[in-house]
Symmetry: C2
Subunit: 193 residues, 2 copies
């Protein structure tokens, strides 16, 4: 029961922060939306910063779960899995009317200059996201699906942050075109064998 | 004299907004930093939104001036000019201790979901930035420096937003490595002929 109260606060807070940004979101607003008294918040979280860092963990968990299911699915070739992964997120953002963008990118933008604790947490998030692509691209290289000269580590990092850049542009375009072009460009140019 | 008061407010506001974000910056704070009374602000700007839109124009002007000088400098080959352009901004961000990131990207992140007026203004900014790369890449293609199969328009858009994504990661890393790797990856992989 206690775990589910904490999870309720985290999920509600993550949703609001994704829409409004971390700095713009007040604890009071989260508690009201979650229907939880103030005391419960401070039972589970030391302060807003502690909460924010755990919201990043929450988003990391969401990402890792999708990436485990799709990017590590050995029933499909690695490049196909990457495409499916992009498509899944493109669908998610279509369902969200092309709002919000990447929560990790948003936190990097908002908190990267402000807090060493957030920077450390975000470094971990980037590393985790990159790792999934490194594994898939390494397998693609072994299969001969991409050039043996491709620097897999650098390509994986590049995919992570260029995707975040594409999501920023998507928020301006309010349509599917940037993510579609991103995918095409990654496969036809960046990863062409 | 009047033009310079307006310019003073714009430059001061742009600097503060670049550091703190648009939503976090109050008019009062800008006026105090600029040493200008409140009445002057409302003489030049209708409201904060009008001011914010003109700050985007200010950043666009800064970018266009650099791009005109470097990306259109026919004394050098087009790919060399793009490299010099990246290097110039890498130096700028080093001087700023790897803070702030791309102001246009920051506005897209902050205001893309909130304001149609900002979206329209930002669409113009993306188009302007993309146009400079389209011109340089078209010339590089004509010279045979890059593949004749490269979709120049898509590549130019991709460079603009992937650079913004790299700047977000730079804010977390607080070092030169992401921008260095970005440059290497663009030339050795994305634009390799």
């Amino acid at each position: 029961m206690k775990a589910s109260v904490k999870q309720n606060i985290l999920e509600t807070g993550a949703r609001i922060i994704h829409h409004k940004g971390y700095n713009h979101t007040g604890i009071q607003e989260i508690l009201k939306a979650a229907g939880v008294p103030k005391g419960s918040f401070y039972f589970y979280f030391k302060n807003k910063e502690d909460f924010g860092l755990q919201v990043i963990d929450y988003f990391n968990g969401f990402y890792a779960e999708k990436a485990e299911a799709i990017l590590k699915d050995r029933n499909h070739a690695p490049l196909k899995r990457i495409e499916t992964f992009f498509d899944g997120f493109a669908q998610l953002f279509m369902d969200m009317d092309y709002t919000c963008g990447c929560p990790i990118g948003n936190f990097a933008q908002e908190m990267g200059d402000i807090s060493p604790e957030f920077r450390d947490k975000l470094k971990g998030a980037y590393k985790m996201m990159t790792g999934f692509y490194v594994d898939a691209l390494t397998e693609a290289k072994e299969n001969g699906d991409i050039s043996k000269d491709l620097d897999v580590e650098n390509a994986a990092e590049f995919i992570v942050y260029s995707w975040q850049g594409a999501l920023m542009k998507m928020k301006v375009d309010k349509g599917p075109e940037t993510l579609e072009k991103f995918k095409r460009f990654i496969f036809q140019t960046v990863l062409r064998s």
